[in-house]
Symmetry: C2
Subunit: 444 residues, 2 copies
């Protein structure tokens, strides 16, 4: 297929349904790669961490190099008084990059079988490159990051998407990564842990639990819309200027930012040898693990992780207006956002329990498993490099009659096309809504 | 003219050239309003400030209410070692709003003759509403803000633009305002200090020195493009995805943010009874003024202001590519930006001397007054509520042969249409480039 064909159409070709064996084959390959590598992940007490310590004075959990990330404290103002919690501070901007290339007229994406210690299935389908700055500037003293040259520097390919996007504002303070999709112009070196897959295969795999990792999902959400030339333009029920104005209003009204605190002595938290956890056992815990792996830049390390209590939930309630699917987004305040609010799912909670920072107004409108209202449902893990067994149930479901056409304050109906356009810019759509966007696209 | 006509065309009608008397008449009215009010602005020592004091411990210049703004210190990292300076911290988001309404088929904009103590000509053409949150929540205990109801709350009109935009990152830490244009749906109360003007009148007045204030200029820059239906689409020499990727790259590479410090004891600064200034006399000074005015919410007050040393410069070098005008923007790092860099003028310096944070690579390419390369030139004042006699020479000039078609790192060619599209979103285009955008539009 010629390069003169618009990208939207080339993506549509790549997304055209394929035989389900094709996705199953990719899944089989992923499990083979998992079996080919030996690794062990074991919980350890904080005292057994190598290279990490609680800093004098603050009690912050820091790395001896002063890099990677720090676990510190946060005080979040709220109507019922302040809430305190630990938070990961990781100021450096990493790269999440997926390489694209056309084979036989169909765009393929180079995915990596990559182990992360927090993943429920340790090896998941990951971006071509998933590297913190510490990774690629070799603070780890590990091997160089494979394929990085396609994303940085003069020899890189044609950039299809390139935008800074936030990550979990419940657990990270101001974290974001550079989400990139680049079409390779020259040959790409083969490697047994990498595999070219189509958008259709990726879409099929998104319907399976814990196959496509969070980093891959957020990068894919930044792709332009896949649409054939024949498709008309969707008319949104909320004109884009109105959507932007509503969002500006919510952002301007966001309260003061959360306040950084030392990790030591957070009210309501208990500091044990193996975990820092809420006194009521809810929310999440800070823990430590020891990792022994063959296929990573470094063969063995230990690190802290955040472990949520129970499974999270992220749901889009959807409704057709004028024949066009709209999703009900909320202007969601997360304490770690760099700018107050982002557009989030209709319902989001990161664990079975408090704290939940967004509105839970539509929690009871999310249908239970098996409901005919459900269009999509899968369990997906959050970032396995920082979170331990952090799984969320991702749901896209028809809004029942209890959900009003005129959304309450803080909510708005938006089309996938509108959200995709906003995803060209930073800090509009949060990471859970980005996963849901990819799942929505997977529905076709 | 029917509301069914696209906004871009309605703006084009409003921007169609008028007799120059029309702008002159508006300018005369502005001077009459200035004469109708008595006010006096006098420099005073810090000790004579009412309601302001240097806080114990930090030496920060604070208001007794804890609101308005604070003058504190900043340490900015750089290749030649850290630079220190005072900075204004004003976390609250104000509203800069211009009301629009159609008269005889032509969109008009409601401008206010408003006094600000720092303005070189005290009364300038200002937005309909120019109010900090302290203003409109009545911390000043003054009279209510006129016309505010058209911008906030359920009775407001049709929103044409509504976006948070930064202000001077040289002098403010993280400051931004909500820039709004709203078309009134019902009647608008008349008042002697307000006047309806067309876009054409505003464009003509932008060619005169110190008539249209900064707040009006930034709001006008957020309007959609005025273009008749007949106009084709400009093809930019830098495709938008490439421009965004270049910008993401610069933002990802921005150094660590500036560090907040107490105002007291900044290295290289001298603390006198009437001014805080650099030991070498360069850059800017912090001073205090006493203000007595009739037409403001409060009849008399005193406040600190920032006073630059000498006149600033902001210039767009422009060049046609494929018949389309492009401006050379730079990814400009200002210490007070919330997110590292924004798109700024080709050349920008806020005073005759250091510190200048952007690249001065093209300083010698800005033609002197009277050069045939100059397309636009005027002196415009920066925000008179915070800055004292802060004037900049705004220049739009053809790029001479010494300016390469292939821009050096940190620079990119962009069309007005591209920048206008980015102005729908926050933190892309800095306040000086926004003034230049309005001046570019004024050229037609």
């Amino acid at each position: 297929m010629s390069r003169g064909v618009p990208l939207a159409e080339r993506l549509a070709v790549s997304a055209a349904p394929v035989a389900s064996e094709s996705a199953a084959e990719c899944h089989r390959w992923l499990r083979e790669r998992a079996d080919a590598h030996r690794f062990a992940i074991e919980p350890i007490p904080f005292g057994a961490l190598r290279g990490w310590r609680f800093a004098d004075g603050t009690g912050n959990l820091v790395h001896d190099s002063g890099r990677f990330f720090t676990v510190e404290g946060l005080r979040i103002g709220g109507p019922d008084g302040p809430v305190h919690q630990p938070v990961i501070d990781q100021p450096e901007i990493g790269i999440l990059g997926i390489l694209a290339k056309e084979f036989d007229g169909v765009l393929h994406f180079l995915m990596q079988a990559k182990m992360e210690p927090g993943n429920p299935c340790p090896v998941m389908l990951s971006p071509t490159v998933q590297a913190t700055r510490s990774n690629y500037t070799r603070v780890h003293r590990g091997s160089p990051v494979r394929h990085l040259e396609h994303f940085l520097g003069p020899g890189r390919g044609r950039v299809v998407a390139d935008v800074l996007q936030s990550e979990h504002g419940d657990w990270f303070r101001g974290k974001r990564n550079r989400n990139m999709v680049v079409e390779a112009l020259g040959p790409v070196e083969e490697h047994e842990d990498f595999r070219w897959v189509t958008l259709a295969q990726l879409h099929a795999l998104l319907g399976r639990d814990n196959v496509v990792n969070m980093d891959a999902r957020t990068v894919l959400s930044c792709l332009p819309r896949a649409e054939s030339a024949a498709e008309g333009r969707d008319v949104p029920v909320t004109p884009t200027q109105e959507l932007l104005s509503w969002f500006t209003d919510r952002r301007a009204d966001a309260g003061p930012p959360a306040v950084r605190l030392p990790l030591a002595g957070l009210p309501g938290w208990r500091y044990g040898p193996t975990a820092i956890s809420r006194e009521d056992g809810a929310g999440f815990r800070v823990v430590a693990v020891d990792v022994r792996a063959e296929a990573r830049e470094v063969a063995s390390w230990s690190q802290p992780l955040i472990e949520p209590v129970g499974r999270g939930l992220a749901a889009f309630l959807v409704r057709e207006f004028g024949g066009v699917t709209h999703v009900l987004v909320q202007a969601l305040p997360e304490p770690g956002f760099r700018d107050g609010v982002e557009l989030g799912p209709t319902v989001q909670r990161m664990s079975r329990a408090v704290p939940a920072y967004g509105s839970q107004a539509f929690l009871d409108h999310v249908p239970p498993p098996g409901s005919p209202l459900i269009r999509f449902e899968a369990v997906h893990a959050e970032e396995g490099g920082r979170f331990l067994r952090a799984e969320s149930r991702y749901v896209i479901a028809d809004a029942g009659p209890g959900v009003p056409d005129a959304p309450p304050p803080g909510f708005a109906w938006a089309t996938a096309a509108q959200l995709t356009e906003l995803l060209r810019h930073c800090h509009y759509v949060n990471v859970q809504a980005r996963t849901l966007m990819v799942c929505l696209n997977a529905l076709g």
